[in-house]
């Protein structure tokens, strides 16, 4: 079974297709991490870099870190958690925090019957439970992307409910087109990619940013 791409690598790849990602630095040691902190705008997030599938499930993600002391403490706790789960620590990914917004999932797969396909959904880590997901076969156009977004049951969350502002839906449309459009990742890289998972993408009135990215490559094309 093929391993996912490293998160930073996955983010560089999708950024090349115009999807916004948080400013980030990778570090192998605490010292490198402290150095990275200087070039980023606090608060930051620290994430475990490893082959583990679900970082947050093993305590590998620490949010809202403001300075050197906080960073040292966060890294120590990530190391501890990794040790408890028997996970090898390959390094740390340090990223700027993204302002609050509505969290959605966006992604792509290569289906054995229909080929490249794109999905959008709600629910963060509970996506499977809530099952509010809409798929389309690639390539999609802008009308398809709008239709996908409106088709989600929780779509009103994006258009503003209970005093919350409407988010920049066009920015989410742009993410879906970057994934599933005629010149998107899925159409151009289907020979390499098995699955792409951007979860969450944080959509706010100021745009859409992929906060986490996982790309699984096809086995035989490594």
């Amino acid at each position: 079974m093929s391993a996912p791409l490293r998160e930073a690598g996955a983010k560089d790849w999708i950024a090349g297709y115009g999807i916004r990602t948080p400013a980030r630095r990778e570090a192998r040691t605490v010292d490198e991490a402290l150095e990275a902190l200087v070039s980023l705008r606090a608060p930051v997030v620290v994430k475990l870099v490893s082959q583990s599938l679900h970082k947050s499930d093993v305590g590998g993600v620490r949010l809202g870190i403001d300075g050197a002391a906080g960073l040292r403490e966060a890294i120590a706790s990530i190391d501890r958690a990794a040790g408890e789960h028997g996970i090898a620590v390959e390094g740390y990914l340090i990223e700027e925090m993204v302002p609050r917004g509505v969290e959605v999932l966006a992604g792509g797969i290569v289906d054995p019957v229909f080929g490249p396909a794109v999905v959008v959904g709600f629910g963060g880590v509970f996506t499977e439970v809530l099952n509010d997901v809409v798929a389309r076969i690639c390539p999609i156009d802008s009308a398809d992307a709008h239709e996908m977004i409106r088709e989600m049951k929780a779509a009103p969350l994006l258009f503003g409910v209970r005093g919350q502002p409407a988010v920049d839906v066009e920015a989410l449309v742009a993410v879906l087109l970057a994934l599933g459009g005629p010149h998107g990742i899925m159409m151009e890289q289907a020979h390499l990619i098995r699955e792409i998972d951007l979860n969450p993408v944080i959509v706010s009135p100021h745009g859409a940013i992929a906060v986490d990215a996982r790309i699984v490559l096809r086995e035989n094309d490594a």
Partner: protein, 503 residues
């Protein structure tokens, strides 16, 4: 027809209008599927030569038999092959390029390693002779235009519905039950395992065939899903397509490594295909038949796509349930406009009639003028309201089991509806539900009334729910095609984008 369409029609003519056919597997000692096809096809009036192929018999059913396909005195457009799998490749290898289409009944190609080898051999034999294959593991082809059939007593009149099935049994259901319900086919093909020709090939052909107005499918596994999707997408829904998909799994069947992988299952992508191509997805044979009946009878209006139905008939509870279902189906339930309200009030229907949508007209109202009131009632709705569609429902036992109601009222209701439709010039899509209690006498009255309505082009359904689901498919299709046409018009009238800069 485009030039490509003309090519497709010419390529498939030997299958759907064969000049000569061969039947392999018929015998004088037993009765096989091949014997059936020989008899049924002759009974249907096939006028060209039929060549039975048999290793020893001089004649089969009175026709001269031949030892091999190459021994036949003429070219063979269509060969029906009902012998054991192991013998099929050798039989076809002896055809010397004289067979255009061969339909293979036998199973046993592909399920085992030996079957895989047979399948490979079969394909090589066919390709070396430019012969096209249907099947294996299928039942036959019905083409009224070509007078060939594999089911007894199929109509000889050609219709406008095409049906392609990966299950032989369901193709039989659609021919028997579908024809009883009023479907008339341009062609039915049982495609089996699709070793060579498959759903995408027949989709292309039936899109091109001018006699076909709507295309139905029963699908289990698509050998070339991408081509099927792209053919549908580029057709821009120029003909309605209705799919019954067997084996829809809620989640992806493969091991997924991410949320996305786990969520984008087969089922969701069939929904996606429907949204992106306008094809209707159904979930039962009955829903498939209902949808096809609707498309066969109703004329889609792309300039004025619909999203609601005006429901009228006898039954208060039935009206309430109709409202509930319309709302679940995403249909609009519009109250009558003032003009329509006045026109309906002017009919002076008895107390108990609700002038609303749905409009409950108790049997006391519908028996006015011995049932001829249906003409004035439906004309008033069509003219003054101009709804997207009208559904007229008749609870038959209320008219046929009440001794105080004259016997002719029921038939007059149906005739009144047909007169209203004629006087409206078929401007408003109109559907009829004839609700029987399933008893012999009521069903006996239902059949001729249903046939009369169908012959006039009115789709007839057994229950209100079936009619509404079929109308929902019909209106979804109208709206999809309307949007596609608008997008295409916009694309052709927008000025081309000028590149910035340059010389």
């Amino acid at each position: 027809m485009t030039p490509d369409d003309a090519d497709l029609r010419r390529d498939f003519r030997p299958l759907f209008e064969p000049r000569a056919i061969a039947i392999v597997g018929a015998s004088n000692t037993g009765r096989t599927r091949a014997n059936d096809v020989l008899d049924f096809t002759r009974a249907m009036g096939f006028s060209g030569p039929i060549y039975p192929i048999h290793p020893s018999a001089a004649t089969i059913h009175g026709l001269p038999a031949y030892r091999s396909l190459a021994d036949c005195p003429g070219e063979i457009d269509y060969a029906f092959v009902a012998i054991a799998a192991a013998r099929v490749p050798d039989l076809l290898a002896q055809a010397s390029g004289r067979v255009r289409y061969a339909q293979i009944m036998a199973s046993g190609f592909g399920e085992t390693a030996e079957g895989e080898r047979l399948n490979q051999r079969l394909l090589e034999v066919a390709r070396s002779q430019r012969m096209r294959l249907i099947g294996p593991n299928c039942l036959g082809t019905y083409s009224p235009r070509g007078r060939i059939t594999y089911i007894r007593d199929c109509p000889t009149e050609a219709g406008s519905v095409a049906f392609v099935s990966q299950s032989g049994g369901i193709s039989t259901d659609m021919l028997r039950r579908g024809v009883q319900r009023g479907l008339r086919y341009s062609g039915v093909v049982s495609v089996g395992n699709c070793a060579d020709l498959g759903p995408s090939d027949f989709l292309e052909y039936f899109l091109a065939d001018p006699d076909t107005h709507v295309i139905g499918f029963y699908l289990e596994s698509l050998p070339d899903g991408r081509r099927f999707f792209e053919t549908l997408r580029s057709a821009s829904a120029r003909k309605p397509v209705v799919i019954l998909k067997g084996g829809r799994t809620p989640q992806g069947q493969r091991a997924a490594l991410s949320h996305t992988g786990a969520l984008a299952g087969d089922d969701r992508l069939w929904t996606a295909l429907s949204r992106q191509t306008g094809a209707a997805i159904t979930s039962s044979v009955d829903e498939l038949i209902d949808a096809l009946i609707g498309f066969q009878c109703l004329r889609a209006r792309f300039d004025r796509p619909g999203d609601g139905v005006f429901v009228v008939g006898n039954g208060g509870g039935a009206s309430v349930l109709a409202t509930d279902l319309m709302s679940r189906l995403g249909m609009q339930v519009r109250a009558p406009r003032d003009d329509a309200r006045k026109a309906l009030e002017a009919l002076e229907l008895p107390a108990g009639t609700s002038i609303d949508n749905p409009m409950d007209t108790p049997s006391g109202a519908l028996r006015m003028h011995d049932g001829h009131v249906a003409r004035a009632l439906l004309s008033a709705i069509a003219r003054a309201e101009r709804p997207d569609a009208i559904l007229f429902h008749v609870n038959m036992p209320q008219f046929l089991t009440n001794p105080s109601i004259p016997d002719a009222v029921f038939e007059n209701l149906v005739d009144g509806m047909l007169e209203a439709r004629r006087s409206d010039g078929d401007m408003t899509p109109l559907a009829l539900t004839l609700r029987s209690d399933g008893s012999e006498p009521i069903d006996a009255r239902k059949r001729p009334a249903r046939d009369r309505a169908l012959a006039a082009g009115v789709p007839v359904f057994d229950e209100i729910a079936n009619a509404l689901v079929a109308l929902a498919h019909f209106q979804r299709y109208e709206r999809f095609r309307h949007r596609r046409l608008a997008a295409e018009r916009k694309a052709s009238t927008d000025p081309p984008i000028r590149r910035q800069g340059g010389t």
